[in-house]
């Protein structure tokens, strides 16, 4: 029997659960959010229900897709990082401008971490893919770089267990969980 990866409590070791956890995203989704030139937007909320938001500049997903990390520029994301540290809530939207294909992944156990080896390369690859994508719809590379500029400042990873994922491509099915949208 499988169970949602979210059925685990945030700090509960995975070995406590007898069921095999299952990610709400499949390999195709994982490839989409890590390699396509998608726009990445990261949201969280404070304990007193004030939402926070920032732009992501890349994404990493582990092979079993039970853990995802989005990269954000610390200086641009102070409220959001405070909220993640405090409430551990996260919502991330990935949207491909030319096709409007959009999906949202949510988590309840987010933590702020330092970048891992290879993450700088992931961010560079993301920058190239996003520039190419925006180039297709008429935005020059300088514009795209300004949009996802880190200014040389600190970049951190927000790691979380995807516990729910939704199709958010505009249209009547927007908002449906991915499992049903497939």
């Amino acid at each position: 029997m499988s169970t949602s990866a979210c059925d685990r409590m945030p700090d509960q070791p995975s070995s406590v659960s007898s069921a095999v956890p299952e990610s709400p995203i499949d390999a195709d989704h994982a490839a989409f959010i890590t390699t396509a030139g998608v726009s990445i937007s990261v949201g969280s909320s404070s304990a007193d229900l004030l939402p926070s938001i920032t732009r992501g500049i890349g994404c990493r997903v582990v092979p079993d897709r039970l853990r995802a990390s989005v990269f954000v520029v610390a200086e641009q994301s102070r409220d959001l990082l405070d909220d993640v540290r405090d409430t551990r809530r996260i919502a991330v939207v990935f949207s491909e401008p030319h096709s409007h294909r959009t999906l949202q992944i949510k988590g309840r156990d987010a933590v702020v971490e330092a970048l891992e080896a290879g993450d700088r390369d992931r961010i560079e690859r993301y920058r190239a893919a996003f520039s190419a994508e925006l180039g297709e719809i008429g935005f020059g590379p300088l514009f795209t770089h300004a949009l996802i500029d880190s200014g040389g400042g600190e970049v951190v990873a927000i790691a979380f267990t995807p516990c729910a994922a939704f199709d958010q491509t505009p249209g009547p099915r927007a908002g449906e969980p991915l499992a049903h949208a497939k």
């Binding site: 949201g43 409007h100 795209t144 300004a146 505009p170």
Partner: protein, 457 residues
């Protein structure tokens, strides 16, 4: 507040979609892309409500939101803290957003998917510039304030209504680089607009009509609000809308399409600004361009200011001309014209007039023309005064607010454009001179009379 909302209005044009975070009552955050963000005033913003989705559920339960908007040229980003106040589902703001959304939908391949259910209004509590690089903005095309000043000065110098319209359109071209424009006036019954002057089209379209509520122009007039679209959309293509309405309404309405509305076939950006004065709508100033996103918030501001001055000047020139009208003295009878007679037909039902088989005009301008040619033929008169026309029971001026002089301008231009055998010239203050180069044979056709075939196809 570190930034004023009006200073970052360009970020709301939607070149880069806004991204918004909300959270549910249990704290679960949600992020959404926005099709449309609309500047309302210095402290309020409106967002399009298109689907009943998580964002919608969240803001109804917890009104707090955060939004990131991006400058379309510099890439600068601003984070706004918002508080949801209310949703409007009708009225000027709603119609403005509905029209703009139709353009966005068409541009992004989302026609049929995007439909505005409401305009969600938020108070902007805080604006923060997100640290990061910014590109240099492109140099401005022109100083809009300098352009406004120049055209404003021209308007202030106008002494005649006819020149007011042509000077305004000339000024738009010379100082705003707006090459396609028209002025339409509201008829006295307040149900339709007629074109009084235009620039930049193959045919002037003077005399063409558009019902209130149709297309960008008709909606701007009905709602009394500027309507601005950055991308072409069939939904608001006025020519198409009018043709469809005419087809649905049968033969009588077909005449409305007899004089085609001027308009760019490849129009992309459109801006219709109501002309208002003394608390009422006088008409619409309309400009368009084949380029996407040609008109921004600042262009809209400039043209709204200009339309205000245009309206006030129209009223004052109209009043001045009424005060100055002279009483006519008896005149010598006109020499009868020679040549083959022209058949002038008048249809009582809608006051439409045909010269032989050519449609000339209908409505108030048609009844004025009919009265003039009757007096010309029956009693040999050639000179007429505005004052007598205004009081003439045969001319069905819908009410006192109807602008007789504008109708005369329209009639004069139509006759000139048709190179008709009858012409009207100004002959002193508030006086008109009618000349006919051929004899006129008048035929009055009652209700339901058959029209010449050529006019109805």
């Amino acid at each position: 507040m570190t930034q004023r909302l009006d200073v970052i209005r360009d970020c709301l044009e939607g070149a880069v979609p806004g991204i918004m975070a909300t959270c549910a009552a249990d704290g679960t955050p949600n992020v959404a892309y926005l099709s449309q963000t609309e500047y309302v005033d210095g402290r309020h913003i409106a967002l399009s409500y298109q689907f009943f989705n998580t964002t919608r559920r969240n803001i109804l339960a917890n009104p707090e939101a955060r939004l990131i908007v991006t400058h379309p040229h510099t890439g600068e980003r601003f984070r706004l803290r918002l508080r949801y106040l209310r949703t409007e589902t009708a009225g000027p703001l709603f119609e403005r957003m509905k029209a703009k959304l139709a353009g966005i939908a068409s541009h992004t391949g989302m026609s049929g998917v995007f439909r505005l259910l409401g305009s969600d209004i938020y108070r902007v509590a805080e604006i923060e510039r997100i640290p990061g690089a910014a590109l240099a903005p492109p140099p401005p095309r022109a100083s809009l304030l300098a352009a406004l000043r120049a055209v404003s000065a021209r308007i202030a110098g106008c002494r005649e209504l006819d020149l007011l319209f042509s000077d305004t359109l000339d000024g738009l071209e010379a100082h705003f680089d707006i090459r396609h424009a028209m002025v339409l006036l509201l008829d006295g019954a307040g149900t339709r607009l007629y074109t009084i002057a235009s620039r930049g089209y193959e045919a002037s379209g003077v005399g063409s009509e558009i019902p209130l509520g149709q297309g960008v122009i008709g909606v701007a007039a009905r709602e009394g609000t500027p309507i601005r679209i950055g991308y072409a959309t069939l939904e608001y293509a006025y020519g198409r809308a009018i043709r469809a309405a005419a087809e649905a309404n049968g033969l009588a309405a077909v005449l409305e399409t007899e004089i085609p509305l001027p308009g760019l076939a490849d129009s992309a950006s459109q801006l219709a600004v109501p002309i208002r004065a003394a608390g009422r709508l006088l008409g619409v100033l309309y400009v368009e361009s084949p380029h996407n996103l040609r008109f921004g918030y600042d262009d809209e501001d400039a043209l709204v200011a200009l339309a205000g001055q245009l309206g006030a000047t129209m009223l004052s020139l109209q009043q001045a001309s009424e005060l100055q009208e002279e009483v006519l003295v008896p005149e010598p009878l006109a020499q009868p014209a020679a040549g083959r007679p022209v058949l002038v037909r008048h249809y009582a039902g809608d006051d439409s007039v045909f010269l032989d088989d050519d449609y000339l005009i209908k409505g108030v301008a048609g009844s004025i023309f009919w009265a003039l040619v009757r007096d010309h033929v029956e009693s040999g008169r050639s000179t007429f005064s505005n004052r007598e026309l205004r009081l003439d029971p045969r001319i069905r001026l819908p009410d006192l607010s109807d602008n007789l002089e504008a109708r005369l301008i329209l009639l004069r231009r139509r006759l000139n454009e048709r190179q008709a055998c009858v012409r009207l010239e100004k002959a002193g203050r508030g006086r008109l001179l009618l000349t006919a180069s051929r004899p006129l044979t008048l035929v009055e056709v009652g209700q339901g009379g058959a029209r010449p075939d050529g006019a109805c196809c």
